[in-house]
């Protein structure tokens, strides 16, 4: 079958499941609203950060970070869905279909990215309103960055899930990586305050989560471009694109060469 048609159908596999997580999403959204409208305001009152060009509004900084934390978590959750599909034999089924494995890898990654981004859209809408982003270009850029980064995360989560083939192992690994990647990043701490802690600083600068979060900040609150992001916007955009392409290539390589069916084997 033609590659693009197969790709569209594989993407549809993930997208058609969108309606299944209504309660989960409602819960996430409620929690996010609390985080942004209650905790964020309280924390912003307590925290004062001086950037190279004056004091930063930590509230604006915080809400973008909160959105990225949710996007990260939702994207990584796709790994659990993959394990569930492995357990139910759906991965075996997909591996048997008359399609190329690279199409399967790309399709599941993009489909997962679209789904995760779609799940996060209500939260992104809140951020856009709270930050007062009115430019259509900025809104589209926010969506694009979120989707591309989410796809990269999904590719990694999918590869790890297929590699580990166990829900328990995945829980442990994802728990650790969630803690490390979110905390060793600029999600909640500006890079300028991390500078004195050398290891922390370098880990945050190579962490793709930092690049994605700060890129969202540059797009949504341009005053943050003035020396408080891990890098300039072109480098961060290239970094995120490179991360996502690498993640998809890793998924393709795994599916073509290593991955086979069977849960827990």
């Amino acid at each position: 079958m033609k590659g693009f048609r197969a790709l569209a159908l594989i993407i549809l596999w993930d997208v058609r499941k969108l309606g299944r997580y209504k309660f989960f999403l409602a819960m996430r959204f409620t929690w996010f609203l609390l985080q942004v409208l209650v905790f964020g305001l309280i924390v912003a009152h307590m925290v004062s950060i001086r950037g190279p060009y004056g004091l930063l509004d930590y509230y604006k900084f915080y809400v973008v970070g909160a959105y990225m934390a949710v996007l990260f978590s939702i994207s990584i959750m796709r790994g659990h869905e993959i394990v569930e599909e492995l357990e139910d034999g759906l991965i075996d089924y997909q591996l048997s279909l008359p399609i190329e494995r690279r199409v399967l890898a790309i399709g599941r990654t993009l489909g997962g990215g679209i789904s995760s981004f779609t799940y996060s859209m209500p939260m992104l809408a809140v951020i856009i309103m709270v930050l007062g982003v009115s430019s259509l270009t900025s809104i589209l850029l926010l969506a694009l960055v979120s989707f591309v980064f989410s796809s990269g995360l999904v590719g990694i989560a999918m590869s790890v899930a297929l590699w580990l083939r166990s829900g328990d192992k995945l829980d442990i690994l994802m728990g650790i990586s969630d803690s490390l990647l979110v905390r060793l990043s600029t999600i909640f701490y500006p890079i300028v305050v991390l500078t004195p802690i050398t290891i922390y600083y370098y880990l945050a600068t190579i962490n793709p989560v930092s690049h994605a979060t700060d890129l969202l900040r540059i797009v949504s609150i341009p005053e943050y471009a003035l020396g408080v992001t891990v890098s300039d916007s072109t480098i961060m955009a290239s970094y995120i694109l490179g991360f996502t392409i690498t993640s998809i290539l890793a998924a393709i390589t795994l599916l073509e060469r290593r991955i086979e069916g069977g849960y827990g084997r």
Binding site: E84, D92, Y93, L97, I99, E260
Partner: protein, 320 residues
């Protein structure tokens, strides 16, 4: 025999320290229904999943029309379709969505997919269940959804892993007829089963697998004939059964397993159907009146026992 459709050479499949398939060599010919008979844990499903490229061989190779599952997986998948032992669907899926998506991914346009899915669902009495969650369906109905995938796909090599498990008798016969129809339309069929009646009813040839190895291969008749003195002929007679009669019968029937008591002579022979008439002549010549004659061929269970030393229903293990 026709062209080789599936060639399995020195196939080994390990899961950790467990050897699920051990040095399997097998040719499956184009246009035949090949039955893979064995208990759970015998390596049938692992073999089928390797042919379908879901598993990768640990050693050896499988070729489908000359394409290797190791090197040419994408090409193999275009030729092979599989209906799994357990229906593959999430509990929130419904049969129509599952089959429509399947029809499209195997190449149908949306319009054709809708048409063929409806036809097959109606044929299998699935149409009334089209909007239900998979979790709401009975085991047999779920199984039909899985089988429907292959009836829609019509691949050149169609693999059915226990296609009629959990189905009622009427549905079993229907599925068997449809599988034979697929064969008649040009597909090569591979059926894994632990149901001897199904294997015998459906298969042109049967391979008996046990503990990861192929123990016997042939048509059902050939396999039965390979059991020494597997046919049992019973004569109900009137008259004196002397030692001379027993000796004569032993000679003409080429059997050393004869018993006689209470007017019943029981003889274990090879190719019994060819020897009944001669035996009756011997008895009549000795003034013994033959009231009735019956012959029982060995069952596939006897064949399985002969080649493996185990009874099929008692020898199950965890599934491979």
């Amino acid at each position: 025999m026709g062209k080789v459709a599936v060639r399995i050479r020195n196939l080994v499949k390990r899961f950790g320290n467990v050897i699920a398939v051990n040095r399997l060599n097998l040719d499956i010919y184009e246009g035949e229904v090949f039955g893979l008979l064995g208990p759970n844990g015998s390596g049938k499903s692992t073999t089928l999943l390797t042919i379908a490229t879901v598993y990768k061989p640990s050693e050896g190779d499988v070729e489908v029309y000359g394409y290797s599952v190791v090197r040419d997986g994408d090409k193999v998948r275009k030729l092979v379709g599989i209906a799994f032992q357990e229906p593959k669907a999430l509990w929130v899926d419904n049969p129509y969505e599952i089959l429509l998506w399947h029809a499209m991914i195997v190449g149908y346009s949306l319009g054709d997919a809708r048409r063929v899915v409806r036809e097959v669902m109606e044929e299998l009495d699935l149409w009334e269940h089209r909007g239900k969650f998979i979790a709401e369906l009975s085991g047999g109905t779920r199984k039909k959804v899985e089988v429907a995938k292959l009836l829609i796909q019509k691949p050149r090599i169609a693999i059915f892993d226990e296609p009629t498990a959990q189905l009622d008798v009427t549905s079993k016969h229907f599925i068997w007829n449809r599988i034979r129809a697929m064969r008649d339309e040009g597909s090569t069929i591979i059926v894994a089963t632990n149901d001897m009646f199904e294997a015998e009813r459906l298969s042109d040839r049967i391979g008996i697998m046990y503990k990861g190895s192929l123990k016997a291969l042939g048509t059902p008749a050939e396999l039965k004939d390979r059991i020494p003195k597997g046919d049992v002929i019973e004569f109900k007679v009137e008259g004196t059964i002397s030692n001379e009669v027993i000796t004569m019968l032993s000679e003409v029937l080429e059997s050393d397993r004869i018993s006689a008591s209470n007017g019943l002579i029981k003889v274990h022979v090879n190719r019994g159907e060819e020897k009944i008439a001669t035996a009756i002549d011997v008895l009549v010549k000795h003034n013994i009146k033959v009231k009735s004659v019956s012959m029982r061929e060995p069952s596939l269970d006897d064949v399985f026992f002969y080649f493996t030393g185990a009874r099929l229903r008692e020898s199950g293990d965890e599934g491979f």
